[in-house]
Amino acid sequence: MKKYFRNFYKYRYLLYEIVRKNIKLQYRDSFLGILWTFLQPLLTTIVLVIVFGNLLGKDSSKVLNYPVYLLCGRLLYDFYSQSTKRAMRSIKNSASVIKKVYVPKYMYPLANVISTFVTFLISLIVLVLFVAYFMIFSPNKPNITPYVFLAFIPIGILFILCLGVGLILSTLEVFFKDIEYLYDVFCMLLFYVTPIVYSIEQLKLKNVWAMRIFMANPLYSIVHMFRDCVLFGQMININHLLYSLAFSLATLAVGIIIFAKKQDKFILHI
């Protein structure tokens, strides 16, 4: 165990350099550069508000600030899908290094989740701007209370979840490239089963089981908690907290075990 920590400590610069590289290269050669971290969620949210605002946001729009509601879900979902997809490809993309030099391989999925996390944190500025705008100009203001400072809890849990899923996917990707396509479809499905553009109450689910399936999605719990902090100004729901935390930690544990067991075989397949 100690050996692993020492090894991580030795290669911490590598982690830093890969994170730095990912962020630097992401927007290199684009005209607006790092501005895209704000622009992209801003523009997609505007599109979604226009498309879904009238369809789904209607009956609750009187009590609810729909754009902020949507942006909360959207930002967290984007972080989830982008970080896991990047982590998934990270081992394959670093094949040239892994084949030639010894490096702790988990650095690649980890660094990809971290670099996406950094751009996610920057994109939260859009949320701050949205909230500020609606506080001033909108009749249904977001309810900002000291609970807003608890927002780090759902964000932290989401980070653990993404890292766990990323480790699992990066391992699978090495052996079965199909996972890439399957996961794309899965992410699209996830976008619609997670209450991002709608709220779960609107569905008026009668069936208990249908409800349970919706609730089983850890992303739902995380998004719910985040909205509690940022939009509704409430204490986060303890059940959501426990469930999503347990789910995320279990995923991370599974990810670490699978990755550790299979990493010596990576070189034969990439």
Binding site: L14, E17, K21, K99, K100, Y102, L268
Partner: protein
């Protein structure tokens, strides 16, 4: 007595030589059902044992497919041996393929730090050697150009400059001295020889016995995954030339 720099004990490596790589589910299941998953196994290395003392320079000779590169991969920790174990004491700088740690979209300057970090060196440490690296690689004019626009010689020069500037304790060279023009070849050979004074341990793969004689003091011969000879460099090189002559017949 100091510990040996590299200790290789009964190392064997098994490869599964499937004709194609299986990387999708359909193929996997077809092969699983038809039981073709494990056919064609092949030992790339068989029961190799040797010890390299500190500041020994060992040449690894062998014909194509003898397992030289596999051996270097095992020593540098990239590949885990199927059986046996490898102990290495000291910082290794692998030069298996120069420039393997580069990111093509990154400039030369940025890649210096990235490559350094890949070998486990902090940014500050590389910064102190930055000028030396750039001067040695002779890339002053191109250092801010993305590496994708470099020629292969330029990449190799940069890779060699970085790997030799970090003062490793164990240097692993896989035919790296065959890249670049004659002038750079000579320069890098001199650089390596200058590192001997600091007591660097070298593991050097080459087909060129002249070069091995110049650089190494000991040598080993691999043939079809087996260690068939080890000893003083001149003796082993003569033997290798003899073997090569026999094969030609």
């Amino acid at each position: 007595m100091a510990q040996p720099a590299i200790k290789v004990e009964n190392v064997s490596v098994l490869f599964n030589l499937n004709n194609e790589k299986i990387d999708n589910l359909k193929e996997y299941f077809i092969k699983l059902v038809t039981r073709k998953l494990h056919y064609n196994e092949f030992w790339a290395l068989q029961d190799i044992s040797f010890t390299i003392e500190k500041s020994d320079r060992v040449g690894v000779l062998g014909f194509n497919g003898a397992g030289k590169s596999t051996l270097l991969k095992v020593v540098s920790g990239v590949l885990k041996p199927t059986k046996g174990k490898v102990e290495v004491h000291g910082v290794i700088a692998p030069m298996l393929e120069l420039g393997a740690g580069f990111d093509m979209n990154y400039s030369g300057r940025e890649n210096i730090y990235l490559y350094g970090a890949t070998m486990g060196y902090p940014r500050k440490y590389i910064q102190e050697r930055y000028d030396e690296i750039v001067r040695f690689s002779e890339l002053e004019k191109f250092i801010d150009v993305p590496v994708k626009n470099y020629s292969s010689g330029m990449k190799a020069r940069l890779g060699f400059a970085i790997a030799s500037a970090v003062e490793p304790e164990v240097l692993i060279l896989d035919e790296v001295l065959s890249v670049g023009d004659a002038k750079f070849k000579k320069k890098s050979e001199q650089k390596i020889i200058s590192m001997f004074d600091k007591g660097v341990t070298v593991l050097f793969v080459s087909h060129n016995t002249e070069q091995v004689r110049r650089i190494c003091n000991k040598a080993i011969i691999l043939d079809k995954g087996k260690l068939i000879a080890q000893g003083e460099v001149n003796e082993i090189c003569d033997k290798y030339i003899e073997l090569a002559a026999e094969k030609k017949k």
